[in-house]
């Protein structure tokens, strides 16, 4: 049973509230199921605009890419386990580390963080779908095509081989013959379009579709993190779109962006790339920080301490993240005074992240921790990320960086912050939200094995690399001489990789077994406080039966169970949602979500196909533009709503 407030105005007496009867609930449920039902079968799957269905595909695809990236890493570790090893030759090794980096950064990390947002955020803010459902589907198809493009290329010996950051002139037309780098540049186009689409979705949905009463200072911290990530995406991704476009143009149509002999500059590439590349890692980190807030809240049963400080530190991290990029270029001939500013900024960014960690610790202090697997991953995060962050502060120092730049010390640093800072929280989020997505609990016992193997494996693999870097081992080397004395530590590192693989196998096994026969979870197995736990598990396609009304940061803790206030009166025969205002989430008007359609797939195929053609001839751009125009015509063709002539009623008059 749920309370139903008919959007009361402040002056109306409380006895306007009424309880919704079982019969009314069942009636609404039946109608919603009918109107939101997408059917089964291939065509339904291809035309789906359900945000959960699309996000689930994103997550599964991203995990497949994660596995592929992991296999590439394993191959590298085998090759490096002994000096002068002949497991793979230099050409294949170069392709492998390039594809590993590109997969992890472009095809796994950002998409999965966006995907968890696209899945959870609408449920957490109490709406039925993202703002632009068809655009959401388009984003997924573009991402899929981009990833498949990269791997089809890789498997046909056309994988890019100049590193995931593809410095020119090595990646330029003179020193990388063939189409390898062109494919990389266009893969970027696909993934960046998908990324921008996801960002637009999240921002619009969060700003305009929150449950009434969910003012900005009541938004869950995870939702804040997704919004901030999305803003970062919008400001950072254009830099790499420009950079990869310029590189593709240099390689295809003889422009001279990066040709010093004709007025270009090799350093221009580095600036453009790293202006994107540094915020990219914060784009990956910030949603993970949001996930941690959700997990800590639930498993300590306390609201996160210092909510305003948490939000402001996320925002400052995002801002500061744009002022660090030159720390990747300390070895270049940029003026030292300028470089020093980036030293200071790189050190400063530790402060907001530190504030986050201190606030979580304060929350744990005041709460009662429950050591579920998700919470263990949070502890693992602190242990690994702080270590990585400290090595990061070390390399913000220019003299020190000049010794360890482009060595395995840096490899150790970024794997600690990326795995510790992003993958561990992500795994915690899987264990936390798996019941909500599937209706079943993951095994806690297997989860503990998963955690400990992963934790041990990461330390075993990456801690020795700190020493290897200081001992002189550069990165991106396919082999090394025996007399260098690096063999033992490399062997230890490779053994660690085996342990990580074992932990991945445990995880996959856990998921497969739990999907079939795991304990059913119920609505709210963890006793959590945010809105996604107010709806059944797995969440129905329309998310909430009625749009909830929010009166605090922890809605399920401030209202008696089963007595959550809701909004009634939205149409059930159409896909209708509620639009609310930005600051205080006061209801503004109704909104109709677009129905399933094949157009996103068609646009992705047409646009994607022409982007792929553009690898070989500039005519691809022309054809693509024409086709896109045509399809967008169909997309935006106006439809007249049957209600068009009905006089608009004020929201407060809705029954």
């Amino acid at each position: 049973m749920a309370h139903a407030y008919a959007l009361p105005s402040p002056n109306e007496p409380d006895d306007r509230r009424r309880f919704i009867s079982e019969a009314e609930e069942q009636d609404v449920r039946t109608r919603l199921e009918q109107s939101w039902e997408e059917g089964s079968g291939l065509y339904a799957w291809l035309t789906s605009t359900s945000h959960k269905s699309i996000a689930k595909r994103y997550i599964v695809t991203a995990l497949v890419f994660f596995a592929l990236g992991g296999i590439e890493a394993a191959v590298m570790r085998v090759q490096l386990s002994r000096p002068e090893n002949h497991f793979v030759g230099p050409d294949l090794y170069n392709q492998i580390f390039t594809v590993h980096g590109s997969t992890m950064m472009f095809l796994f990390a950002v998409p999965v963080m966006e995907a968890i947002g696209l899945y959870m955020v609408p449920i957490m803010i109490g709406t039925r779908n993202v703002a632009f459902p068809r655009l959401n589907a388009l984003g997924y198809w573009m991402y899929l095509i981009g990833g498949v493009l990269l791997y089809v290329a890789f498997f046909s010996n056309t994988g890019p081989d100049a590193g995931w950051f593809a410095y020119v002139p090595l990646a330029g037309p003179a020193y990388s013959p063939g189409k390898r780098i062109d494919i990389w540049a266009q893969m970027i186009t696909f993934t960046e379009i998908a990324g921008l689409i996801g960002a637009v979705e999240i921002i619009t949905t969060v700003f305009k579709q929150r449950a009434p009463g969910m003012s900005l200072n009541r938004i869950p911290l995870f939702v804040w993190s997704e919004v901030i990530m999305s803003f970062m995406i919008i400001f950072a991704l254009p830099a790499i779109v420009i950079a990869s476009g310029a590189l593709a143009a240099d390689r295809l149509v003889d422009t001279h962006f990066f040709n010093p002999a004709e007025g270009g500059d090799a350093l221009l590439w580095q600036h453009l790339f790293w202006f994107f590349g540094h915020p990219e890692v914060y784009i990956i980190l910030i949603p993970a920080l949001g996930m941690i807030s959700s997990i800590v809240t639930t498993f300590t049963r306390r609201s996160i301490f210092g909510y305003p400080a948490m939000v402001l530190s996320l925002i400052s991290t995002a801002f500061l993240g744009f002022s660090l990029w030159v720390h990747h270029m300390f070895a270049t001939p940029l003026p030292q005074l300028g470089q020093s500013l980036f030293t200071a900024a790189s050190a400063a960014i530790a402060i907001p992240t530190g504030i986050q960690i201190f606030c979580w610790m304060a929350t744990i202090w005041s709460g009662r921790p429950r050591y579920t697997t998700a919470f263990m991953f949070v502890i693992g995060f602190v242990l690994l990320f702080v270590l990585g962050g400290l090595s990061g502060v070390m390399i913000s120092s220019i003299p020190y960086d000049l010794q360890v730049h482009d060595t395995f010390f840096v490899v150790a640093h970024f794997h600690y912050v990326l795995i510790g800072g992003a993958v561990f929280p992500l795994w915690g989020a899987f264990y936390y939200w798996f019941p909500k997505m599937t209706g079943r609990l993951l095994s806690e016992r297997a989860g503990k094995w998963n955690f400990w193997l992963f934790f041990a494996g990461v330390n075993l693999t990456f801690f020795p690399m700190h020493f290897l870097g200081l001992m002189g081992m550069p990165r991106r080397v396919y082999t090394y001489l025996p007399e260098m004395g690096w063999g033992n530590l490399n062997l230890v590192s490779s053994i660690g990789a085996v342990v990580i693989v074992a932990s991945a196998i445990v995880f996959v096994g856990n998921v497969v077994v739990s999907l079939r026969g795991g304990t059913p979870s119920g609505d709210n197995p963890w006793g959590a406080s945010t809105l996604e736990w107010a709806t059944p598990s797995p969440a129905p396609i329309y998310n909430h039966l009625f749009i909830p009304i929010v009166n605090g940061r922890e809605p399920l803790w401030t209202n008696p169970p089963g007595e959550l206030p809701v909004v009634t009166g939205l149409r059930t025969d159409r896909h209708e949602g509620l639009i609310t205002s930005l600051m205080d989430a006061e209801p503004e008007h109704r909104y109709e979500f677009k129905q399933p359609t094949i157009l996103p797939l068609i646009l992705a195929l047409a646009g994607g196909g022409s982007i792929i053609v553009a690898i070989f001839t500039p005519w691809g751009v022309t054809i693509g533009a024409a086709l896109t125009l045509l399809i967008l015509f169909c997309w935006f063709w106006p439809t007249i709503s049957p209600d068009h002539d009905t006089p608009r009623r004020h929201p407060r008059e809705m029954p």
């Binding site: 498997f155 046909s156 010996n157 037309p173 013959p177 063939g178 189409k179 003889d254 040709n259």
Partner: protein, 183 residues
């Protein structure tokens, strides 16, 4: 995850197919001792034949479809100072290589023979001076200069001042054998 994913099956099939096909353009053959040291039969230096004309097929130069080989040929073209006479393909002391007149034939085996044996009126013989594998790479590049390779195989601009349009930008070549120097 829950429903069957035909997309993924299709993608997997495509991948398998492509692995089997490979991609000749992107092969990097570093050490190719199997390249023939002398051009095989098939060199024709005259339009005239007794009796009915028999079309002799060109020797398969596997470097013809290989972008890496063409790029190496470009590097060697400068390093072996072919530009000294042929000036990046435009000609000068020697005839241009970017036009459609192929005095000694445009087939790979003809070009190989030209470089290896030398030619009257000033083309030196590079036999013994440039290893056969590199001469085949130069052959591939010379054909690219003449617009005889696929666009994706030909080299693009280099990182120097732009003295001519890149090999990729030019139009396809239509070689006509002129067995007389065009002067």
């Amino acid at each position: 995850m829950t429903r069957g994913n035909p997309e993924r099956v299709a993608a997997a099939t495509l991948l398998v197919a492509l692995v089997l096909l490979g991609c000749k353009r992107e092969q990097r053959r570093f050490s190719d001792m199997s390249r023939p040291t002398a051009s095989d039969n098939g060199i024709i230096m005259s339009e005239l034949q007794p009796g009915p004309a028999v079309i002799h097929s060109a020797v398969q130069n596997s470097y013809d479809d290989n972008a890496y080989a063409v790029a190496e040929g470009k590097r060697l073209f400068d390093q072996m100072n072919c530009s000294g006479c042929h000036s990046h393909g435009g000609g000068g002391i020697g005839p241009p290589l970017t036009d459609d007149d192929w005095i000694y034939g445009s087939d790979p085996q003809n070009i190989f023979a030209t470089i290896t044996e030398g030619r009257p009126n000033g083309m030196p013989s590079f036999r013994g001076r440039i290893p056969p594998q590199q001469i085949w790479e130069l052959t591939a590049y010379v054909r690219a200069l003449g617009g005889l390779q696929g666009k994706a195989i030909r080299t693009t601009r280099d990182d120097h001042m732009m003295y001519k349009e890149s090999e990729q930008a030019r139009n396809k070549g239509h070689p006509s054998p002129t067995f007389v120097p065009s002067k």
